[in-house]
């Protein structure tokens, strides 16, 4: 049998499988496509509405306080910690201690006021861009300014850990107006390096 005969017989046999069908219409395709498009937006719209509600509730809970506090209120209402603190100077220590982290770009002074006779600090040069000061004494308070950090130990003989970024061009530590440590570029003066690589500094008032 010739291949063409085979082909035509095959076609004829397969056509025995055909049964009357309702033809599909283009309008049905478009209607279904549009229905799904609208349905696809529904979850997005619900998420957006939920976010608006949370924002409004957060704003109400904040009592119309400034934006920074509003952000904290919203984060709190969501029950999740914010990924970064709204303040540029983030606390660097847990609640049973005290500390601060500040960015350092230019000349910077760390000024200790009213330290007790036994107070001391250990300075370390570290990689990074932020200056960190921490102490196990929660009574210590910090007051950061554009080019200075004032630390009040309130007469406590606190010990401090100071981490100075190696990129900082000029950092000075003062105790009651007297300079006890200075880093200029990569050099350190007025302090002696300990075997562990840190610089111990006495914070006793003169």
């Amino acid at each position: 049998m010739a291949p063409d005969d085979d082909e035509s017989r095959l076609l004829g046999r397969l056509s025995a499988l055909d049964r009357p069908t309702r033809p599909l219409r283009w309008t049905e395709v478009v209607a279904e496509g549009e229905r799904r498009r609208r349905a696809g937006w529904r979850p997005v719209a619900m998420v957006a509405a939920a976010l608006v509600c949370v924002s409004v509730l957060g704003y109400a809970a904040a009592g119309f306080r400034p934006v920074r506090q509003l952000a904290r209120s919203i984060a709190a209402s969501l029950g999740a910690a914010s990924s970064h603190d709204a303040s540029p100077h983030a606390p660097a220590a847990p609640a049973d201690s005290a500390g601060i982290r500040v960015p350092v770009e230019d000349r910077f002074v760390i000024a200790f006021t009213a330290p007790a006779p036994g107070a001391s600090a250990r300075v370390r040069i570290t990689a990074g861009e932020q200056l960190e000061v921490s102490t196990p004494d929660p009574r210590v308070t910090f007051n950061s300014q554009p080019h200075a950090l004032r630390i009040d130990a309130h007469g406590a003989p606190a010990g401090f850990e100071i981490r100075v970024p190696d990129q900082a061009p000029w950092i000075e530590i003062q105790v009651a107006g007297r300079t006890v440590f200075r880093k200029r570029g990569s050099g350190v003066v007025l302090a002696t390096r300990a075997p562990d690589g840190s610089w111990p500094v006495s914070l006793a008032a003169p």
């Binding site: 085979d6 082909e7 095959l10 076609l11 046999r13 397969l14 025995a16 499988l17 055909d18 049964r19 009357p20 069908t21 309702r22 033809p23 599909l24 283009w26 049905e28 395709v29 478009v30 279904e32 496509g33 799904r36 498009r37």
Partner: protein
Amino acid sequence: MSHAGAVHALFEEHAQRLQRVMQRLSGEPELARDLIQEAFVRLYRRGSLPDRPEAWLISVALNLFRNERAGRSRRKRILAAVPEERFVSAPPPAPGAEGLEHDERARVRRALEQLPERDQQLLVLSAEGYRYRELATALRLHEASVGVFLARARASFKAMYEGSTDGS
């Protein structure tokens, strides 16, 4: 031409014959209709045409059919675990109700279903005039091999059909 316009043109050209292909493969006109509607809805929502829209449509329709069959097999297995008396079977067809047409259809269906899936698809698609290039893309074959596979599929179908006729 807009995307909707391009899909509409493809619909006009291919919907009917794709529906026939799927009906021949599945034996269920309504299922074939649903599969083709789904394939075109997906193309409509896609936002842009694929490189080979015809082959894309065939491929999507065949995949949907495969999924449907797999789902049915699963359901059948689950139903098989339930005691039989819970189901009421459909009444058997009246003897001779569809006559010779029914017999011929049953024979062709039996012969077709004895072939591997790829051979079934090749036969039915080529009968609708799809070119080797489209068949190769849709079924993921080398274009040069399509002719060989198709010849084998035809021979197998013929053997199955004639065997079925002799046996009946």
